[in-house]
């Protein structure tokens, strides 16, 4: 009896005990680790700090989107790695989405063969570890490409060789004006669409918003080409002989094989998961919805745009964002084939040179963590926005 009374009256006190124990245990582990780390670093004569980021890195990176060489700082090397990670993730996400949507829709095709082929694509590529796929593309498939002198040529504009893929380089004049015009076009499209939505919801008027938007997107940048001095020329790669047996391409942009292998493997692997999401999303829209939409007189396009897509997207987008996040995290497998991403450049080379394990691993993990948390925050915001509002 006494025990029961104690329980009810001191519920707060009773709750406090396990919490206090947990916090204390956690704190003692942290303190234990921290003291050990301090002693170990003291023994090696290094002190905790991020000052090394300003020191000269003195190592080269094979592929960089910003100006970089050995004389730049470790901080700059980190930035190069981060940009490379973002580059391969963006390319991967772009192709994964395209392949994923095509395969996902194909799986629902009424053509038996197409549905089966899509199903086997998913079963094959989903069940092989990503790292093996990267190895396969890099060590097996891309190594089988020809040497530069007999590279596979696409209309003499672009060349695929064992050393990479050479593509024409875009040379812009007044690129800033063009960029501004594209941004302006997107802002205009946003206003056009919100106006069209308003008109539709208030007055029931149907404006051809899609075609107007498309026209805006083409017209505004076109004006800059015609009147504002923006122009675009291409610099094509040209085969050049270095010595009697060594050839290379000059000019253009070289896409290194590491990037191709990584982007290929990432997009083909992630596409299988996106395909499953797309399939689930389309199946998730009930047949009754389409029939109801048809019965109130919407035409086929309107049904797709106003009834099916919004509901399917609500199912598709959250897990797909998750897959984008996974793809970005999986891009860290780059380290296995020496694509200079953040893990290889920073947690690999820079760590070896400076020996600052704690700082460097923490920065790397924090970078990924920031990326993950910002994407999941965006996703929560989006889910809230798209949640079905009961009227």
């Amino acid at each position: 009896m006494i025990f029961k009374k104690f329980n009810i009256e001191n519920k707060k006190a009773r709750d406090l005990i396990p919490q206090a124990i947990t916090v204390l245990a956690l704190l003692s582990v942290i303190i234990y680790f921290a003291t050990n780390a301090q002693i170990n670093m003291g023994n090696r004569g290094i002190s905790f700090g991020f000052g090394f980021l300003n020191q000269e890195a003195s190592f080269d990176i094979t592929f960089s989107m910003i100006e970089y060489d050995g004389s730049h700082s470790y901080g700059r090397a980190f930035l190069v790695g981060l940009l490379n990670t973002i580059l391969v993730s963006v390319i991967g996400i772009f192709f994964a989405t395209i392949i994923g949507v095509v395969v996902g829709v194909s799986r629902l095709s009424d053509n038996y063969l197409i549905a089966k082929v899509a199903e086997w694509y998913v079963e094959i590529f989903r069940n092989i570890p990503l790292i093996l796929q990267i190895f396969f593309w890099y060590f097996a498939a891309l190594r089988a490409l020809p040497l530069p002198e007999n590279g596979i040529s696409f209309n003499d504009i672009s060349f695929l060789t064992i050393k990479g893929w050479y593509v024409p380089k875009f040379i812009w004049t007044n690129f800033n004006i063009f960029l501004l015009s594209v941004i302006a076009a997107f802002i205009a499209i946003y206003f056009i669409n919100s106006y069209a939505t308003k008109q539709r919801e208030q007055f029931g008027k149907q404006l051809p918003a899609t075609s107007i938007s498309l026209a805006t997107l083409i017209l505004i940048p076109l004006i800059t080409f015609l009147f504002l001095g923006v122009s675009l020329t291409f610099e094509y790669p040209v085969l050049k002989q270095l010595s009697s047996t060594v050839y290379t391409y000059e000019g253009g942009v070289s896409i290194i094989p590491e990037l191709i292998a990584l982007a290929l493997a990432l997009s083909m692997y992630t596409a299988t998961f996106i395909a499953e999401n797309v399939r689930a999303g389309i199946l998730g829209v009930g047949k009754g919805q389409k029939e109801a939409a048809a019965s109130i007189g919407l035409n086929k396009n309107q049904i797709l745009k106003l009834v099916v897509m919004p509901q399917a997207l609500r199912i598709i987008i959250p897990p797909t964002t998750n897959q984008y996040l996974n793809l970005t995290k999986n891009s860290s497998l780059a380290a296995a084939i020496a694509y200079p991403d953040i893990v290889l450049v920073f947690a690999g080379t820079a760590l070896m040179q400076t020996g600052r394990a704690i700082e460097i691993i923490s920065i790397t993990m924090l970078t990924y963590l920031t990326l993950s948390i910002s994407i999941s925050m965006f996703m929560n915001w989006y889910n809230k926005k798209m949640a079905i509002k009961e009227k």
């Binding site: 919490q19 053509n111 063969l113 190895f135 860290s332």
Partner: protein
């Protein structure tokens, strides 16, 4: 005009034979072209002979596309692969690509491949050099584990399979003891058998372990440990005590937010800094801890899904019977919640198996790592394709079987409810 009338039941007698003939002709042409390198339509101009099978097949499919023909097999054919012009084209493309790709694949895998011999020089054919796999097979399975001691790994796995096999046939009561033995006793016996060092067994350090057996060992231990940790984390995240709740959330989100490779890097270079000077923890154990904690975070989210899906009434009913927190969870909540998320658990385990090759970053070599080692051996250069195709096949069989099993489980459980 009568000649090109729309195919219908009236002209079925003439159209269907012609259509079927044209379709078979187009397949035959592609088939002969692919298998015997002989162009049946070679007498035609090159462009035309290239597209002729497609055109013939397309016309053929058009002619046999008769709605409600009354012939059952024709209706089934039309419905499934020939419902309109676009589908007919897709069907033709798919079949052509399949026919075209069979001979090169067959050549590479079997006909031109080399099976006999024991060095790279024996690979004289154009196809795959399976000699490479044959010679290295032992290494691919057992890593650098000494040949004379490999019976220990075999015995450990044989005992495991035997226990699992027998436990299917014994009574429910005995089964419980089997499972308890399997979870609490066997893993440590097995690891003692493999690592040795006592009972007259030679000690084999973990750096020598490798190959596919290491994949299984790591997967098994990570599964064993990540499951209870995941359940505790999931309960912690749902706890009403704020300190426990937020610590659990922080822990879960930290591991879920970073790639496994950085966690492995951490276990390799950062973790030793956190230990007293001179303490050395075996590399394999560090990797196991890293993978376990990483997968436990994912497991926690899966289990949380099950906990959230349970109706509130279950909690209230358990409480009204006077059950405390632990008894309520152990007897009422978890059995139901875990059953709900078995497919999710299976998927997490599948991801775990697929993640094991990443241990190469700390220098441990399971199957993929051993292939990386073998293909850089000077005597066996240029064997990357064979190696990775082999590893891909092995992993595919394992993962496909797992995913199939989980899908079946899902179906079975969904009908039971």
């Amino acid at each position: 005009m009568n000649l090109i009338a729309k195919p219908s039941r009236d002209n079925i007698k003439t159209y269907v034979p012609i259509g079927l003939f044209l379709v078979s002709l187009s397949f035959l042409d592609v088939f002969i072209n692919a298998f015997f390198k002989f162009n049946l339509m070679g007498f035609l101009p090159s462009q035309l002979s290239y597209f002729l099978p497609l055109i013939l097949g397309f016309i053929g499919f058009y002619l046999i596309r008769i709605e409600f023909s009354g012939v059952r097999s024709l209706d089934v054919l039309n419905k499934n692969i020939n419902s309109n012009n676009f589908n007919a084209l897709l069907t033709l493309f798919t079949i052509f690509i399949i026919i075209k790709s069979i001979p090169p694949m067959l050549d590479w895998f079997i006909l031109e491949a080399n099976f006999v011999g024991n060095s790279k020089d024996d690979c004289t054919g154009d196809g795959a050099c399976w000699v490479f796999i044959k010679v290295w097979f032992n290494r691919f399975m057992y890593g650098l584990y000494p040949n004379a001691e490999q019976w220990r790994i075999n015995t450990a796995f044989l005992i495991l399979f035997a226990i699992v096999g027998v436990s299917f046939f014994v009574s429910e009561k005995l089964k419980k003891y089997f499972i308890l033995f399997l979870v609490f006793v066997f893993p440590f016996l097995g690891i003692k058998l493999i690592s040795g060092g006592s009972f007259g067994l030679e000690y084999v350090e973990s750096a020598a372990w490798g190959g596919l057996s290491l994949t299984f060992i790591i997967s098994a231990f990570a599964i064993l440990f990540c499951f209870p940790i995941g359940v505790i984390l999931a309960l912690g995240r749902r706890s009403s005590l704020p300190a426990i709740k937020y610590i659990s959330i922080g822990f879960i989100e930290l591991w879920r937010g970073v790639p496994l490779i950085t966690v492995l890097f951490m276990s390799a270079v950062m973790f030793p800094m956190f230990l007293p000077d001179g303490t050395f923890i075996d590399k394999l154990i560090r990797v196991l801890i890293a993978i376990t904690l990483f997968e436990a975070a994912y497991m926690a989210e899966v289990v949380r899904g099950g906990l959230q899906a349970l109706p509130k009434g279950q909690y209230e009913a358990a409480k009204s019977l006077g059950m405390g927190y632990w008894r309520m969870n152990a007897l009422i909540i978890l059995p139901q919640a875990l059953k709900l998320v078995i497919p999710g658990i299976a998927n997490t385990l599948l991801a775990l198996v697929k993640d094991t090759p990443l241990i190469f970053v700390v220098g441990l070599m399971e199957l993929a790592g051993m292939i990386g080692l073998a293909k850089t051996n000077p005597k066996w250069l240029g064997m990357a394709i064979e190696g990775y195709v082999f590893a891909g096949l092995v992993f595919w069989v394992i993962c496909y079987a797992m995913s199939r099993y989980s899908q079946n489980l899902e179906k079975k459980l969904s009908t039971e409810r």
